[in-house]
Protein backbone atom coordinates (compact mmCIF):
# COMPACT_ATOMS: atom_id res chain seq x y z
CA UNK A 1 0.00 0.00 0.00
CA UNK A 2 1.23 3.44 -0.90
CA UNK A 3 1.30 5.42 2.34
CA UNK A 4 1.80 8.78 0.69
CA UNK A 5 -1.74 8.44 -0.65
CA UNK A 6 -3.16 8.79 2.86
CA UNK A 7 -3.42 12.51 2.70
CA UNK A 8 -6.11 15.00 3.55
CA UNK A 9 -5.64 16.50 0.10
CA UNK A 10 -6.80 13.21 -1.42
CA UNK A 11 -10.06 13.54 0.50
CA UNK A 12 -10.35 17.04 -0.92
CA UNK A 13 -9.77 15.82 -4.47
CA UNK A 14 -12.42 13.09 -4.10
CA UNK A 15 -14.81 15.66 -2.63
CA UNK A 16 -14.27 18.05 -5.56
CA UNK A 17 -14.72 15.18 -8.02
CA UNK A 18 -18.02 14.15 -6.43
CA UNK A 19 -19.42 17.68 -6.70
CA UNK A 20 -18.21 18.10 -10.28
CA UNK A 21 -19.88 14.81 -11.22
CA UNK A 22 -23.09 16.29 -9.83
CA UNK A 23 -22.70 19.19 -12.26
CA UNK A 24 -21.44 21.94 -9.95
CA UNK A 25 -18.49 23.83 -11.38
CA UNK A 26 -15.73 25.95 -9.80
CA UNK A 27 -17.15 29.39 -8.90
CA UNK A 28 -20.04 27.84 -6.98
CA UNK A 29 -17.95 24.85 -5.88
CA UNK A 30 -15.32 27.14 -4.36
CA UNK A 31 -17.96 28.93 -2.34
CA UNK A 32 -19.39 25.59 -1.16
CA UNK A 33 -15.89 24.48 -0.19
CA UNK A 34 -15.32 27.70 1.73
CA UNK A 35 -18.57 27.31 3.64
CA UNK A 36 -17.83 23.66 4.46
CA UNK A 37 -14.27 24.51 5.51
CA UNK A 38 -15.48 27.36 7.71
CA UNK A 39 -18.08 25.15 9.41
CA UNK A 40 -15.53 22.36 9.90
CA UNK A 41 -13.05 24.82 11.40
CA UNK A 42 -15.73 26.15 13.73
CA UNK A 43 -16.78 22.67 14.84
CA UNK A 44 -13.17 21.61 15.41
CA UNK A 45 -12.67 24.68 17.56
CA UNK A 46 -15.84 24.22 19.59
CA UNK A 47 -15.41 20.49 20.16
CA UNK A 48 -11.83 21.16 21.13
CA UNK A 49 -13.00 23.44 23.91
CA UNK A 50 -15.11 20.68 25.48
CA UNK A 51 -12.01 18.52 25.74
CA UNK A 52 -9.76 21.38 26.80
CA UNK A 53 -11.90 22.42 29.75
CA UNK A 54 -12.00 18.83 30.99
CA UNK A 55 -8.23 18.53 30.46
CA UNK A 56 -7.41 21.72 32.29
CA UNK A 57 -9.64 20.82 35.24
CA UNK A 58 -8.10 17.35 35.44
CA UNK A 59 -4.53 18.72 35.25
CA UNK A 60 -5.24 21.31 37.93
CA UNK A 61 -6.86 18.62 40.10
CA UNK A 62 -3.87 16.30 39.73
CA UNK A 63 -1.42 19.05 40.61
CA UNK A 64 -3.45 20.20 43.61
CA UNK A 65 -4.06 16.63 44.85
CA UNK A 66 -7.78 16.57 44.07
CA UNK A 67 -9.83 14.25 41.91
CA UNK A 68 -11.35 16.75 39.52
CA UNK A 69 -14.51 16.02 37.50
CA UNK A 70 -15.25 12.28 37.75
CA UNK A 71 -19.03 11.85 37.94
CA UNK A 72 -20.57 12.53 34.51
CA UNK A 73 -19.48 9.94 31.98
CA UNK A 74 -16.26 7.91 32.02
CA UNK A 75 -13.49 9.85 33.85
CA UNK A 76 -15.89 12.80 34.01
CA UNK A 77 -15.44 13.36 30.27
CA UNK A 78 -19.01 14.53 29.81
CA UNK A 79 -18.85 17.06 32.65
CA UNK A 80 -18.27 19.92 30.21
CA UNK A 81 -21.22 18.83 28.07
CA UNK A 82 -23.41 18.84 31.16
CA UNK A 83 -22.09 22.30 32.10
CA UNK A 84 -22.77 23.61 28.60
CA UNK A 85 -26.34 22.29 28.66
CA UNK A 86 -26.87 23.82 32.09
CA UNK A 87 -25.61 27.21 30.92
CA UNK A 88 -27.81 26.98 27.83
CA UNK A 89 -30.96 26.66 29.94
CA UNK A 90 -30.03 29.23 32.59
CA UNK A 91 -31.90 32.49 32.91
CA UNK A 92 -30.17 35.44 31.34
CA UNK A 93 -29.93 38.42 33.69
CA UNK A 94 -29.22 41.81 32.20
CA UNK A 95 -28.76 44.65 34.70
CA UNK A 96 -31.33 47.38 34.15
CA UNK A 97 -28.71 50.12 34.07
CA UNK A 98 -26.45 48.30 31.57
CA UNK A 99 -25.62 49.68 28.15
CA UNK A 100 -27.63 47.03 26.30
CA UNK A 101 -26.11 47.04 22.80
CA UNK A 102 -22.52 46.94 24.00
CA UNK A 103 -23.42 44.49 26.74
CA UNK A 104 -24.89 41.99 24.30
CA UNK A 105 -22.26 42.52 21.63
CA UNK A 106 -19.25 41.88 23.89
CA UNK A 107 -19.57 38.06 24.29
CA UNK A 108 -20.21 37.65 20.57
CA UNK A 109 -17.11 39.69 19.79
CA UNK A 110 -15.04 37.66 22.24
CA UNK A 111 -15.99 34.42 20.46
CA UNK A 112 -15.71 36.00 17.02
CA UNK A 113 -12.11 37.14 17.36
CA UNK A 114 -10.87 33.75 18.56
CA UNK A 115 -12.73 31.84 15.84
CA UNK A 116 -11.25 34.17 13.21
CA UNK A 117 -7.68 33.38 14.29
CA UNK A 118 -8.34 29.69 13.58
CA UNK A 119 -8.33 30.53 9.86
CA UNK A 120 -4.54 30.82 9.56
CA UNK A 121 -3.45 27.90 11.74
CA UNK A 122 -1.76 25.13 9.70
CA UNK A 123 -2.97 21.77 11.04
CA UNK A 124 -0.75 19.92 8.53
CA UNK A 125 1.21 20.79 5.39
CA UNK A 126 -1.34 22.73 3.34
CA UNK A 127 -4.25 21.94 5.69
CA UNK A 128 -4.96 25.54 6.54
CA UNK A 129 -8.04 27.70 6.20
CA UNK A 130 -6.29 30.44 4.26
CA UNK A 131 -2.51 30.59 3.95
CA UNK A 132 -2.39 34.38 3.93
CA UNK A 133 0.88 36.08 3.09
CA UNK A 134 0.30 38.29 6.15
CA UNK A 135 -0.60 35.40 8.47
CA UNK A 136 1.27 36.60 11.56
CA UNK A 137 -0.03 40.15 11.16
CA UNK A 138 -3.55 38.77 10.77
CA UNK A 139 -3.20 36.94 14.10
CA UNK A 140 -1.93 40.09 15.81
CA UNK A 141 -4.79 42.12 14.35
CA UNK A 142 -7.52 39.74 15.50
CA UNK A 143 -5.77 39.03 18.78
CA UNK A 144 -6.01 42.68 19.77
CA UNK A 145 -9.79 42.54 19.35
CA UNK A 146 -9.92 40.45 22.52
CA UNK A 147 -9.07 43.41 24.72
CA UNK A 148 -11.84 45.35 23.01
CA UNK A 149 -14.43 42.69 23.84
CA UNK A 150 -13.33 42.56 27.47
CA UNK A 151 -13.33 46.35 27.79
CA UNK A 152 -16.79 46.52 26.22
CA UNK A 153 -18.07 43.95 28.71
CA UNK A 154 -16.48 45.76 31.64
CA UNK A 155 -17.74 49.16 30.62
CA UNK A 156 -21.26 48.17 29.58
CA UNK A 157 -22.03 46.19 32.77
CA UNK A 158 -22.27 49.42 34.79
CA UNK A 159 -20.65 47.59 37.66
CA UNK A 160 -17.62 48.89 39.52
CA UNK A 161 -15.89 45.52 39.77
CA UNK A 162 -16.44 44.95 36.08
CA UNK A 163 -15.10 48.41 35.31
CA UNK A 164 -11.94 47.76 37.34
CA UNK A 165 -11.60 44.51 35.41
CA UNK A 166 -12.03 46.42 32.16
CA UNK A 167 -9.36 48.93 33.14
CA UNK A 168 -6.98 46.12 33.95
CA UNK A 169 -7.71 44.53 30.58
CA UNK A 170 -6.59 47.69 28.85
CA UNK A 171 -3.43 47.89 30.93
CA UNK A 172 -2.50 44.23 30.68
CA UNK A 173 -3.49 43.10 27.22
CA UNK A 174 -2.17 46.22 25.52
CA UNK A 175 1.14 46.09 27.38
CA UNK A 176 1.80 42.42 26.73
CA UNK A 177 0.93 42.73 23.08
CA UNK A 178 4.27 44.50 22.51
CA UNK A 179 6.56 41.64 23.67
CA UNK A 180 4.20 39.14 21.99
CA UNK A 181 4.48 40.93 18.65
CA UNK A 182 8.25 41.25 18.92
CA UNK A 183 8.62 37.58 19.89
CA UNK A 184 6.50 36.64 16.88
CA UNK A 185 8.59 38.90 14.65
CA UNK A 186 11.83 37.02 15.35
CA UNK A 187 10.78 33.73 13.66
CA UNK A 188 9.45 35.86 10.79
CA UNK A 189 12.86 37.52 10.57
CA UNK A 190 14.67 34.17 10.46
CA UNK A 191 12.25 32.42 8.10
CA UNK A 192 11.68 35.46 5.88
CA UNK A 193 7.94 34.87 5.55
CA UNK A 194 4.75 35.73 7.40
CA UNK A 195 2.85 32.71 6.05
CA UNK A 196 2.01 30.38 8.92
CA UNK A 197 2.55 27.32 6.73
CA UNK A 198 5.84 28.72 5.46
CA UNK A 199 6.99 29.26 9.03
CA UNK A 200 6.27 25.62 9.88
CA UNK A 201 8.04 24.49 6.70
CA UNK A 202 11.11 26.56 7.51
CA UNK A 203 11.71 24.53 10.68
CA UNK A 204 12.06 21.16 8.94
CA UNK A 205 15.88 21.11 8.81
CA UNK A 206 18.25 18.94 10.89
CA UNK A 207 15.57 16.42 11.90
CA UNK A 208 13.81 18.36 14.64
CA UNK A 209 16.85 20.37 15.75
CA UNK A 210 15.79 23.13 13.38
CA UNK A 211 12.75 24.02 15.49
CA UNK A 212 13.03 27.60 16.56
CA UNK A 213 12.59 26.70 20.23
CA UNK A 214 16.04 25.03 20.14
CA UNK A 215 17.59 27.83 18.12
CA UNK A 216 15.94 30.76 19.91
CA UNK A 217 14.99 29.81 23.49
CA UNK A 218 14.95 33.46 24.56
CA UNK A 219 12.38 34.41 21.92
CA UNK A 220 10.30 31.41 22.99
CA UNK A 221 10.50 32.48 26.63
CA UNK A 222 9.28 35.99 25.76
CA UNK A 223 6.50 34.47 23.68
CA UNK A 224 5.47 32.13 26.50
CA UNK A 225 5.39 34.89 29.11
CA UNK A 226 3.40 37.16 26.81
CA UNK A 227 1.08 34.26 25.94
CA UNK A 228 0.24 33.75 29.60
CA UNK A 229 -0.71 37.41 29.86
CA UNK A 230 -2.59 37.56 26.55
CA UNK A 231 -4.48 34.38 27.42
CA UNK A 232 -5.53 36.00 30.72
CA UNK A 233 -4.09 33.07 32.64
CA UNK A 234 -2.39 32.87 36.02
CA UNK A 235 0.02 34.35 37.07
CA UNK A 236 -1.36 37.20 34.93
CA UNK A 237 -5.09 36.73 35.59
CA UNK A 238 -5.47 40.12 37.29
CA UNK A 239 -8.41 41.05 35.12
CA UNK A 240 -10.54 38.32 36.66
CA UNK A 241 -8.89 38.10 40.04
CA UNK A 242 -11.55 36.31 42.10
CA UNK A 243 -10.27 37.48 45.47
CA UNK A 244 -10.19 41.16 44.49
CA UNK A 245 -12.85 41.96 41.90
CA UNK A 246 -15.08 38.85 42.08
CA UNK A 247 -14.93 37.84 38.41
CA UNK A 248 -13.60 40.86 36.61
CA UNK A 249 -15.18 42.09 33.42
CA UNK A 250 -17.67 39.22 33.06
CA UNK A 251 -19.19 39.54 36.54
CA UNK A 252 -22.70 40.53 35.37
CA UNK A 253 -22.93 37.91 32.64
CA UNK A 254 -24.96 34.78 33.14
CA UNK A 255 -26.26 31.86 31.12
CA UNK A 256 -25.18 31.61 27.51
CA UNK A 257 -23.40 34.97 27.47
CA UNK A 258 -21.12 33.81 30.25
CA UNK A 259 -20.63 30.54 28.38
CA UNK A 260 -19.34 32.50 25.38
CA UNK A 261 -16.75 34.27 27.49
CA UNK A 262 -15.74 30.94 29.00
CA UNK A 263 -15.44 29.38 25.56
CA UNK A 264 -13.47 32.32 24.21
CA UNK A 265 -11.06 32.09 27.14
CA UNK A 266 -10.27 28.39 26.61
CA UNK A 267 -10.23 28.58 22.84
CA UNK A 268 -7.91 31.59 23.08
CA UNK A 269 -5.50 29.57 25.21
CA UNK A 270 -5.55 26.79 22.67
CA UNK A 271 -5.11 29.15 19.72
CA UNK A 272 -2.17 30.81 21.45
CA UNK A 273 -0.54 27.43 22.05
CA UNK A 274 -1.22 26.53 18.41
CA UNK A 275 0.50 29.76 17.32
CA UNK A 276 3.42 28.93 19.63
CA UNK A 277 3.56 25.43 18.12
CA UNK A 278 3.64 26.82 14.61
CA UNK A 279 6.18 29.54 15.30
CA UNK A 280 8.54 27.75 17.67
CA UNK A 281 7.83 24.01 17.96
CA UNK A 282 7.96 23.20 14.26
CA UNK A 283 4.21 23.11 13.63
CA UNK A 284 3.31 19.86 11.89
CA UNK A 285 6.96 18.81 11.48
CA UNK A 286 7.93 15.39 12.80
CA UNK A 287 9.43 12.06 11.76
CA UNK A 288 8.16 10.61 8.44
CA UNK A 289 5.92 13.60 7.84
CA UNK A 290 7.41 14.10 4.36
CA UNK A 291 6.31 10.59 3.39
CA UNK A 292 2.95 10.45 5.18
CA UNK A 293 1.57 14.02 5.25
CA UNK A 294 -1.48 12.99 7.31
CA UNK A 295 0.84 12.40 10.29
CA UNK A 296 1.27 16.18 10.43
CA UNK A 297 -2.16 16.55 12.02
CA UNK A 298 -1.19 14.10 14.77
CA UNK A 299 2.09 15.87 15.46
CA UNK A 300 0.44 19.28 15.42
CA UNK A 301 -2.24 18.34 17.93
CA UNK A 302 0.27 16.48 20.12
CA UNK A 303 2.57 19.51 20.29
CA UNK A 304 -0.34 21.86 20.87
CA UNK A 305 -1.54 19.71 23.75
CA UNK A 306 1.95 19.69 25.27
CA UNK A 307 2.03 23.47 25.09
CA UNK A 308 -1.51 23.73 26.51
CA UNK A 309 -0.46 21.36 29.28
CA UNK A 310 2.46 23.66 30.13
CA UNK A 311 0.05 26.62 30.28
CA UNK A 312 -2.31 24.65 32.54
CA UNK A 313 0.62 23.58 34.70
CA UNK A 314 1.73 27.17 35.17
CA UNK A 315 -1.86 28.21 35.90
CA UNK A 316 -2.24 25.56 38.60
CA UNK A 317 1.12 26.31 40.20
CA UNK A 318 1.85 30.03 40.32
CA UNK A 319 0.22 32.65 42.53
CA UNK A 320 -1.13 35.86 41.02
CA UNK A 321 1.14 38.85 40.44
CA UNK A 322 0.42 42.33 41.74
CA UNK A 323 -0.52 44.85 39.06
CA UNK A 324 2.63 46.97 39.43
CA UNK A 325 4.80 43.84 39.27
CA UNK A 326 2.91 42.76 36.18
CA UNK A 327 3.45 46.08 34.41
CA UNK A 328 7.10 46.28 35.48
CA UNK A 329 7.76 42.77 34.21
CA UNK A 330 6.41 43.74 30.80
CA UNK A 331 7.84 47.21 30.26
CA UNK A 332 11.11 46.93 32.16
CA UNK A 333 12.05 43.35 31.38
CA UNK A 334 10.27 41.78 28.41
CA UNK A 335 10.18 44.80 26.08
CA UNK A 336 13.88 45.75 26.44
CA UNK A 337 14.82 42.07 26.19
CA UNK A 338 12.77 41.68 23.01
CA UNK A 339 14.28 44.83 21.46
CA UNK A 340 17.86 43.72 22.21
CA UNK A 341 17.07 40.24 20.92
CA UNK A 342 15.62 41.61 17.69
CA UNK A 343 18.58 43.90 16.97
CA UNK A 344 21.10 41.19 17.84
CA UNK A 345 19.32 38.60 15.68
CA UNK A 346 19.26 40.98 12.71
CA UNK A 347 23.01 41.68 13.03
CA UNK A 348 23.90 38.00 13.52
CA UNK A 349 21.92 36.89 10.48
CA UNK A 350 23.56 39.55 8.29
CA UNK A 351 27.05 38.27 9.17
CA UNK A 352 26.46 35.56 6.56
CA UNK A 353 27.70 32.53 8.50
CA UNK A 354 27.34 29.10 6.78
CA UNK A 355 24.24 27.03 7.53
CA UNK A 356 24.70 25.20 10.87
CA UNK A 357 26.88 27.94 12.38
CA UNK A 358 24.36 30.78 12.07
CA UNK A 359 21.93 28.65 14.08
CA UNK A 360 24.59 27.98 16.71
CA UNK A 361 25.47 31.68 16.88
CA UNK A 362 21.76 32.47 17.37
CA UNK A 363 21.53 29.85 20.11
CA UNK A 364 24.56 31.28 21.95
CA UNK A 365 23.18 34.82 21.62
CA UNK A 366 19.79 33.72 22.94
CA UNK A 367 21.30 31.86 25.88
CA UNK A 368 23.52 34.83 26.75
CA UNK A 369 20.48 37.13 26.72
CA UNK A 370 18.31 34.72 28.69
CA UNK A 371 20.89 34.12 31.42
CA UNK A 372 22.03 37.75 31.49
CA UNK A 373 18.45 39.00 31.57
CA UNK A 374 17.52 36.76 34.45
CA UNK A 375 20.72 37.69 36.31
CA UNK A 376 19.83 41.38 35.99
CA UNK A 377 16.23 40.66 37.00
CA UNK A 378 17.44 38.78 40.06
CA UNK A 379 19.73 41.64 41.03
CA UNK A 380 16.95 44.20 40.62
CA UNK A 381 14.59 41.99 42.62
CA UNK A 382 17.17 41.59 45.36
CA UNK A 383 17.71 45.34 45.48
CA UNK A 384 13.96 45.99 45.67
CA UNK A 385 13.50 43.51 48.51
CA UNK A 386 16.50 44.94 50.34
CA UNK A 387 15.29 48.53 49.90
CA UNK A 388 11.83 47.74 51.29
CA UNK A 389 13.34 45.95 54.26
CA UNK A 390 15.63 48.87 55.03
CA UNK A 391 12.65 51.21 54.96
CA UNK A 392 10.90 49.28 57.72
CA UNK A 393 13.70 48.18 60.06
CA UNK A 394 15.12 50.87 62.33
CA UNK A 395 18.75 51.77 61.82
CA UNK A 396 20.87 50.11 64.47
CA UNK A 397 23.70 52.15 65.97
CA UNK A 398 27.09 50.94 64.79
CA UNK A 399 29.33 49.43 67.41
Amino acid sequence: MDWSQIDLRMVGALWNQAWQNAGITPPLLTVINWVVAAVVLLLVGLNMVIGLIWLERKIAARIQDRLGPNRVGPFGLLQTVADALKLLTKEDITPTEADRITYNLAPALAVFHVLMTLAVIPFADGVIGADLNVGVLYIVAFGSMGSMAALMAGWASNNKYALVGGFRVVAQLLSYEIPLVFAMMIPVLVAGTMRMNGLAQAQGQFGGLGWYVWVMPCAFFIFLAATLAEGERAPFDLLEAESEIVAGFNIEYSGMKFAWFFLAFFLNSWVLSAIGTTLFLGGWQGPFVDRIPALGVVYFFAKTMVMFWVLAWIRATFPRLRIDQMMDFCWKFLVPLALVLLVGTAILLKLGLPSPFDGLALLVWNLVLLIGGFWLLGKAQHRAVYASKRAFTPQLPRL
Binding site: T30, V31, W34, V35, A37, A38, V39, L41, L42, L88, T89, K90, E91, D92, I93, T94, P95, T96, V111, L115, M116, G129, A130, D131, L132, L137, S157, N158, N159, Y161, L163, V170, A171, L174, S175, E177, I178, V181, M185, V188, L189, G192, M194, E252, G255, M256, W260, I323, D324, M327, W331, K332, V335, P336, L339, L342, V343, A346, L349, K350
Partner: protein, 118 residues
Protein backbone atom coordinates in the same frame (compact mmCIF):
# COMPACT_ATOMS: atom_id res chain seq x y z
CA UNK B 1 -4.02 35.03 -3.72
CA UNK B 2 -6.77 37.54 -3.19
CA UNK B 3 -9.51 34.91 -3.30
CA UNK B 4 -8.25 33.58 0.04
CA UNK B 5 -9.94 36.58 1.57
CA UNK B 6 -13.22 35.16 0.25
CA UNK B 7 -12.76 32.33 2.72
CA UNK B 8 -11.90 34.83 5.47
CA UNK B 9 -15.08 36.74 4.64
CA UNK B 10 -17.29 33.64 4.79
CA UNK B 11 -15.64 32.56 8.03
CA UNK B 12 -16.21 36.05 9.43
CA UNK B 13 -19.94 35.88 8.60
CA UNK B 14 -20.34 32.39 10.12
CA UNK B 15 -18.15 33.16 13.15
CA UNK B 16 -20.10 36.33 13.86
CA UNK B 17 -23.50 34.69 13.37
CA UNK B 18 -22.59 31.67 15.48
CA UNK B 19 -22.66 33.30 18.95
CA UNK B 20 -25.99 34.91 18.13
CA UNK B 21 -27.41 31.54 17.07
CA UNK B 22 -26.33 30.18 20.42
CA UNK B 23 -27.96 33.11 22.20
CA UNK B 24 -31.16 32.58 20.20
CA UNK B 25 -31.30 28.90 21.19
CA UNK B 26 -30.74 29.90 24.80
CA UNK B 27 -33.51 32.51 24.47
CA UNK B 28 -35.93 29.77 23.40
CA UNK B 29 -34.95 27.42 26.22
CA UNK B 30 -34.29 29.63 29.20
CA UNK B 31 -36.76 30.82 31.80
CA UNK B 32 -37.63 34.53 31.75
CA UNK B 33 -38.63 35.75 35.19
CA UNK B 34 -36.95 39.10 35.77
CA UNK B 35 -37.60 41.20 38.85
CA UNK B 36 -36.07 44.52 39.94
CA UNK B 37 -33.93 42.96 42.64
CA UNK B 38 -32.53 40.34 40.30
CA UNK B 39 -31.76 42.91 37.65
CA UNK B 40 -29.86 45.19 39.98
CA UNK B 41 -26.11 45.35 39.77
CA UNK B 42 -24.18 42.65 41.58
CA UNK B 43 -21.70 44.19 43.99
CA UNK B 44 -21.58 41.58 46.77
CA UNK B 45 -25.04 42.51 48.01
CA UNK B 46 -24.19 46.13 48.71
CA UNK B 47 -26.05 48.86 46.84
CA UNK B 48 -23.83 50.66 44.39
CA UNK B 49 -22.80 54.16 45.40
CA UNK B 50 -22.41 56.99 42.95
CA UNK B 51 -21.68 57.02 39.25
CA UNK B 52 -19.95 53.97 37.75
CA UNK B 53 -18.97 55.45 34.41
CA UNK B 54 -16.23 57.66 35.74
CA UNK B 55 -13.27 59.09 33.94
CA UNK B 56 -10.26 56.86 33.26
CA UNK B 57 -7.17 57.62 35.27
CA UNK B 58 -4.46 59.47 33.35
CA UNK B 59 -2.10 56.55 34.00
CA UNK B 60 -3.95 54.37 31.51
CA UNK B 61 -3.59 57.02 28.80
CA UNK B 62 0.17 57.10 29.40
CA UNK B 63 0.45 53.36 28.87
CA UNK B 64 -1.87 53.52 25.89
CA UNK B 65 0.34 56.21 24.29
CA UNK B 66 3.50 54.14 24.79
CA UNK B 67 1.62 51.12 23.43
CA UNK B 68 0.58 52.98 20.28
CA UNK B 69 4.16 54.04 19.59
CA UNK B 70 5.52 50.53 19.97
CA UNK B 71 2.69 48.91 18.06
CA UNK B 72 3.26 51.19 15.08
CA UNK B 73 6.94 50.38 15.32
CA UNK B 74 6.06 46.69 15.15
CA UNK B 75 3.87 47.26 12.09
CA UNK B 76 6.78 49.02 10.37
CA UNK B 77 9.20 46.27 11.32
CA UNK B 78 7.11 43.38 9.94
CA UNK B 79 7.84 44.27 6.26
CA UNK B 80 11.49 44.66 7.23
CA UNK B 81 11.46 41.19 8.81
CA UNK B 82 9.87 39.59 5.74
CA UNK B 83 12.23 41.26 3.26
CA UNK B 84 15.24 40.74 5.54
CA UNK B 85 17.07 38.21 3.33
CA UNK B 86 17.05 40.53 0.32
CA UNK B 87 18.10 43.63 2.23
CA UNK B 88 21.56 45.15 2.05
CA UNK B 89 23.62 45.72 5.17
CA UNK B 90 22.87 49.45 4.94
CA UNK B 91 19.11 48.88 5.05
CA UNK B 92 19.47 46.55 8.02
CA UNK B 93 21.44 49.17 9.92
CA UNK B 94 18.81 51.75 9.08
CA UNK B 95 16.16 49.47 10.61
CA UNK B 96 18.34 48.95 13.65
CA UNK B 97 18.70 52.73 13.98
CA UNK B 98 14.91 52.93 13.86
CA UNK B 99 14.65 50.44 16.73
CA UNK B 100 17.33 52.28 18.68
CA UNK B 101 15.50 55.62 18.40
CA UNK B 102 12.46 53.96 19.97
CA UNK B 103 14.63 52.28 22.58
CA UNK B 104 15.87 55.75 23.52
CA UNK B 105 12.22 56.74 23.83
CA UNK B 106 11.61 53.79 26.16
CA UNK B 107 14.61 54.77 28.29
CA UNK B 108 13.32 58.36 28.43
CA UNK B 109 9.86 57.20 29.54
CA UNK B 110 11.46 54.92 32.10
CA UNK B 111 13.69 57.66 33.53
CA UNK B 112 10.73 60.05 33.63
CA UNK B 113 8.96 57.54 35.87
CA UNK B 114 5.98 57.03 33.54
CA UNK B 115 6.36 53.26 33.84
CA UNK B 116 5.85 53.29 37.61
CA UNK B 117 2.40 52.03 38.52
CA UNK B 118 0.83 54.19 41.25
Amino acid sequence: MLEQYGFIGILAIIAFAFPFIGLAVAWLLRPKRPNPLKNSIYECGVETIGETWVQFRAQYYLFALIFVIFDIEAIFLFPFAVAFNQLTLFAVFEAILFVLILAVGLIYVWRKGALEWQ
